[in-house]
């Protein structure tokens, strides 16, 4: 079986040639195994979202390669990659069309997989959507004809999650998708995320700022800093990790790297 995602020596700089030049991804490499659920930690500006945008094809990298399921997708157009990648953002407004109904939104996302039909909304698909929505236990399965914009943030995010996963993508990217929700709704959406990921056995990357969450979710945790991979733990090492130890480890490794850099530059 192919590796679902492999990133080789990815470099992305912004505002090259100006005093504001920023290295967002610095020779970043990562190999993701089938069925991995990786949580990604890192301070603001560490390059987490840049990494996601590179995978999604929002911009072209300066150098390096990205492989999705064994295929080189480094220079493929964003909408073509989206056939196999599902993504969820922090802002619940980004993933859905507010003036269209829940049913229409789902139908649109399902276009990737659905059997060709003349009308986008049809009975067979609607029944399937209803079943999926009912599983969320948010009571929205009876409001399929409601406009998306009338739902609450949590509900929208839950529906966005369905939309991102409805076509069984090879890769699911979650960019702090619960950060804009209140704690109890966030908990609920996380729970749904876990169920959906496990059920479909999706290979997932999740960005989070919550260390406890980063350690309790998934099977592997990576930490980024200044566009580089700082830490990559899984298995027993991860099981013994606590948020406190993580911070210590982070500052140690960061210090180590910093001294390395000073050494090289001098």
């Amino acid at each position: 079986m192919n590796t679902p995602l492999e990133i080789r020596h990815l470099v992305k700089k912004f505002e090259i040639g100006t005093p504001n030049e920023k290295v967002a991804l610095d020779d970043f490499s990562l190999k993701v195994e089938q069925g991995d659920f990786i949580t990604i930690l890192g301070s603001n500006g560490a390059g987490k979202s840049t990494l996601f945008n590179a995978i999604l094809g929002k911009f072209m990298p300066d150098s390096g390669q990205i492989f999705l399921d064994g295929e080189d997708i480094t220079y493929r157009k964003d909408y073509k990659r989206a056939l196999h990648i599902g993504c969820l953002y922090q802002n619940p407004l980004r993933g859905t069309a507010p003036n269209m109904t829940i049913e229409e939104n789902l139908a649109l996302a399902y276009t990737r997989k659905a059997s060709p039909s003349f009308f986008a909304v049809n009975k067979k698909d609607s029944a399937y959507f209803r079943e999926l929505l009912a599983r969320l236990e948010l009571g929205i399965e009876d409001r399929m004809k409601t406009q998306m914009g009338l739902l609450s943030g949590g509900q929208r995010q839950a529906v966005s999650l369905l939309m991102a996963t409805i076509a069984q993508p090879k890769l699911l990217l979650l960019d702090e998708h619960t950060a804009a929700l209140d704690p109890s709704t966030a908990e609920k959406v996380l729970q749904i995320t876990k169920e959906v990921v496990e059920e479909n056995q999706l290979t997932t990357l999740m960005i989070t700022h919550n260390m406890q969450q980063a350690l309790s979710f998934g099977n592997r945790t990576i930490m980024m800093d200044s566009g580089r991979l700082l830490l990559d733990i899984s298995g027993a090492e991860r099981a013994q990790m606590t948020p406190h130890k993580l911070i210590d480890l982070f500052s140690d490794t960061a210090k180590q790297m910093l001294s390395d850099r000073t050494l090289f530059s001098s």
Partner: protein, 300 residues
Amino acid sequence: MALGVFIAFRILNTPDLTIDGSLVFGMSVCAVVTIAGYPILALFAGTLAGAVAGLITGLLQTKLKINAILSGILTMTGLYTINYMVLGGQSNLYLQSAVLNENNSPVYVSSSTIYKTFSERTAGLLGSDINTSVLVLTTLIVAVVATLLCVFFKTRPGMAIRATGDNEEMVRSSSINADASRILGIMISNALVALSGSLLCQQQRYADLNNGSGMLVVGLASVIIGQVLFGRRSVTLGVISAILGSMCYRIILQIAYKIDMPSYAVKLLSAVIVILALTLPLIKDGFSLLRQRRVARRGE
């Protein structure tokens, strides 16, 4: 006419100024083909011309990433020259052709139009008044086009166009080519406008270079009136309300004419209607705020 503007504004959510140009483009192409003796083909040719104009604007917007308003203005400006050329280097063209009589002097014979033919065919049914047949035939065409449109917006490509106007990013992440949807939407919108230009040309029996100016505002006025009166809950309702809105707009104009409004004031009136309709929600809010304050003051 209003339907085309409806797509541009409400569905694609971008003001498309190409409309002023594509209306005349449709009109001119229609005029030329009608004079050649093919009135029905002329309607299709006119519509197609509009679609081409839309394609250009669409490409400017998506592939060359030119601002939406500017792309429209650019196409519209370029079309002015094209239209002039299509009309044979003159600013208007009457639907007639010169036939030489036995004395070798030209006699102008007016070209056949769909309205004329329709009127002749249905003379027994509708009477010989050409205005009746204009009304009936136009209503028929509008009904057919509106139905096609409503059905189209429920198909997958149609829904993709609606979603592109609503949230382009979401369309991309659903692995749909948003650029293609946008271009297709602009093409349909301009094709409809050009069709209305073609119909107008056959009805008034001439094409004029200046018929297009301000058409965007006229169309917008219709769309907004329809929206205020009939709501905008779904696409089907939106299409219907755009049609009804354009009728209301005509009625308002007729009333204005009755109270001796000079014909040159039409454009100003249209602009005022659009401004009023657009600010209506704001005015409403302002009033309710005033009322709340008054109630609050009294409560003290």
